[in-house]
């Protein structure tokens, strides 16, 4: 792994930590208080705050996981640098797209229909 990829992966991990804690707190809050899906969507729809929160989460997770998959592709799959980088960009794009789609689904429900 080169220096830049190492820094991006460690940096994204660092930034994701408070987001993960916040995400877990939200899950526990929603499940313990019995908040329904409709109520959750009522709070997230049109919320810039939640859009930024989960949008940032998606970008960070996509970058972090893609770099990890690149290493796995090289070490366990025996792929070359170039092929592993292709896996990284492909996986990153896929995670980014799917993640962003999920964010849109709670911020602007109906926009993907």
């Amino acid at each position: 792994m080169n220096m830049r990829l190492y820094l991006v992966q460690r940096g994204t991990a660092l930034l994701m930590m408070p987001l993960i804690v916040g995400h877990l707190v939200v899950i526990f809050y929603a499940s313990s208080r019995g908040v329904s899906a409709t109520e959750i969507l009522g709070r997230t729809t049109g919320s810039v705050g939640w859009a930024v929160y989960y949008g940032a989460f998606v970008v960070l997770a996509a970058a972090h996981a893609a770099i990890g998959l690149r290493t796995i592709a090289m070490e366990w799959g025996g792929l070359s640098d170039r092929a592993a980088s292709a896996v990284m960009w492909g996986a990153g794009f896929l995670l980014f797209t799917l993640g962003l789609r999920a964010v849109f689904a709670v911020i602007a429900p109906g926009s993907l229909a």
Binding site: N2, M3, Y6, L7, M74, E75, W76
Partner: protein, 251 residues
């Protein structure tokens, strides 16, 4: 009376050890020998017994026999060990030993591996002291209490046995990886105030296959016969390289 004492008093009462030793090169196989048990017997004693008394064609390496030279490392019952300091009583399972050459290195013959790759990695990691003074200069005074010297001292007692290289998963998966021993050496030099090779060493250990490839599995620390912690040394190199990158000294 302990079991060890009992064996020492009356070794004939105890069964021989069945020793499976790797014979041949990469595509070789195990051959089994029976070796009499002795008190305080080491694995190296067992291998030596086989070569001297049973099969003189067996190839293996050793030199000092006292844990200093680092040349007798082998895989014993699946784990890399220094055989001269490994007592049979501590590793034997059901009166059986399986002895193979070190993993992650090409086998030349039997228990002797080609360690070129291991030592080439030391060169690639710039694990060589670069002097900054001549013999005519005064000897610098360095307190052993200095933080950098203490860090170097904690990692300096490597005997180049190759056990960490053999135990490392990343070495097995990544042919470019410099390995725990070479990076540990680079860390000791990076903390040596007398060394002048820092500028060349940091890019070498930050390159592809350098310190950032370590997964922190800590097999090196687990198996190091000198009880060193190369993983901690590698973590130190990660810190140094990140600091240098932030300062713009690494691209």
């Amino acid at each position: 009376m302990t079991l060890a004492d009992a064996r020492a008093d009356n070794p004939v009462k105890f069964p021989d050890i069945e020793v499976a030793i790797w014979r041949g090169s990469e595509d070789g196989g195990y051959r089994t020998y029976r070796v009499p048990r002795q008190a305080s017997q080491t694995v190296l004693d067992v291998v030596t017994f086989v070569q001297r008394r049973i099969d003189p064609t067996l190839s293996y390496r050793f030199a000092c026999r006292v844990g200093v030279c680092g040349s007798c490392a082998m895989t014993v019952n699946g784990r890399p060990r220094w055989t001269c300091r490994t007592h049979v009583s501590n590793v034997v399972e059901d009166d059986r030993l399986e002895i193979a050459p070190l993993a992650n290195l090409p086998v030349i013959k039997d228990l002797a591996t080609d360690m070129s790759r291991f030592f080439e990695k030391w060169q690639e990691a710039k694990g060589v002291h670069v002097p900054t003074a001549t013999r005519h200069d005064p000897i610098p005074t360095i307190s052993p209490l200095e933080t950098r010297r203490a860090a170097a001292n904690a990692a300096i007692e490597c005997i180049n046995c190759g056990i960490c290289f053999s135990a490392c998963d990343t070495v097995r998966w990544n042919a470019d990886y410099l390995g725990p021993a070479a990076l540990n050496r680079a860390w000791t030099l990076a903390n040596d105030a007398r060394d002048g090779g820092h500028a060349a060493r940091l890019p070498a250990v930050a390159a592809k296959g350098g310190c950032h490839a370590c997964h922190t599995h800590q097999s090196c620390e687990q198996h190091c016969p000198q009880a060193l912690n190369p993983t901690a040394s590698i973590a130190g190199l990660k810190r140094l390289t990140v600091e240098a990158f932030i300062r713009g000294e690494l691209t």
